[in-house]
Symmetry: C2
Subunit: 224 residues, 2 copies
Amino acid sequence: MKNRLSKTPKRQSRQRRRTKNTHQKLLEAARAVFAEKGMDLARIDEISERADVGKGTFYYHYKSKSQLIQELIKSILSELVATIEDKCRDASDIQSLLYSLIGAHIEFFSKCWEDFVLYFQSRSDLILQDCYIGIETPFAEYLEFIEDLLESVIKHKLPQPALRRIACAITGFVSGYYSFAAIGSQDENIDEAFASLQGAMAASLGRFIQEALPSAETSGNFCK
Amino acid sequence: MKNRLSKTPKRQSRQRRRTKNTHQKLLEAARAVFAEKGMDLARIDEISERADVGKGTFYYHYKSKSQLIQELIKSILSELVATIEDKCRDASDIQSLLYSLIGAHIEFFSKCWEDFVLYFQSRSDLILQDCYIGIETPFAEYLEFIEDLLESVIKHKLPQPALRRIACAITGFVSGYYSFAAIGSQDENIDEAFASLQGAMAASLGRFIQEALPSAETSGNFCK
DNA sequence: GTCGAAACTGACGATAATGTCAATATCGAC
DNA sequence: GTCGATATTGACATTATCGTCAGTTTCGAC
């Protein structure tokens, strides 16, 4: 037994890299196809075709499309969370946190259109009765992460539902604007327009929080 | 020729109603199935099954699923526009317009969950490369309608892109919040929470518009 | 260089969904 | 009551997609 195990004690580098590469290629291809046809209508055939591997290879790496989606969403959201974490590290008041939070989303969405599409598609999927399994958790974690950030800069204790509402408002506003801008702005550069609104959005959300908080206390003076 | 035409000069009431009814039943069934499985994964079989008619009947009324979707979206959005029109009729300043605009969306979304799902799904579909044809126009008209409303209460002339951005922000904020709330708020009543935020959203968007406008002029005093 | 394990392949059977169509039912007009 | 037009039906041919599997290739260890 031990002998058998010792036959492959550590994995080999070349083969290991090749495998990793295939895995990655499939993920990339899936991103592209998903952004074209949508998650539901994307065919495994096309994904493996575009990754330039046989269809069997797909099934060697992933149990099913559902599992691929799960992994993809998880990876996308954890990247988004990482971007947020990075950008918001030293925000200490609510105004600068909001600004950075929005900035992180702009940066993330602008960097890769496919990721935004996936982000939006899966949110859209989440409101269905029969949705892909396993994509709820990453979204919940993403919201929770934002809530933690908010909590750390808001002085007084807030009830959880209020925090959640604020987080929903922020993420909803940002992604909602972006998606509408994508379909609505015929010619102009979406990302540029988006970036130019960063300040306005932050101010606006600041105001939202101020108004939405049940407690009368005003820790910030968003209204100059 | 004229004789032939005169054979069916006006349609008969009973048969007419029956047909209309079937048409409506199919539309209703589609709404329900779409909200369960999503537009892509909804099967014609299931729609006609749920409408309690033969599959052939579906194809008698609609050329294809694509056409059904087109009609459905069109009807939903024109209903939304009608709601907006009704609620915003006598809003004369920007603050009250925003308030009514949000109110109209809340009312509309709350009234029928299926409609919200369809609204959101089709927006999600619109950002894909290969999306259903014919759903772009209703959305464009919806945005344009909101722009017209905005224009009528904003004193000074705004460039079209700025108006569009504001419209995107409003609709994005409202629907974005609602969708996140739907997946994020585990227990509490979404509609109630949403309604309680109506004022905060309006104030917030007022602030957004104020900040986003390039011109320095301040017609409104949103900051008390 | 040869052996075994891991990675890869694409043709194939099974399944599922689409859209068609010839036959049938319903209805109002005359 | 019968005729033509309109509406409805579900079995069917067609097409698309899935997931499997027996066989092949790649690679590192010895």
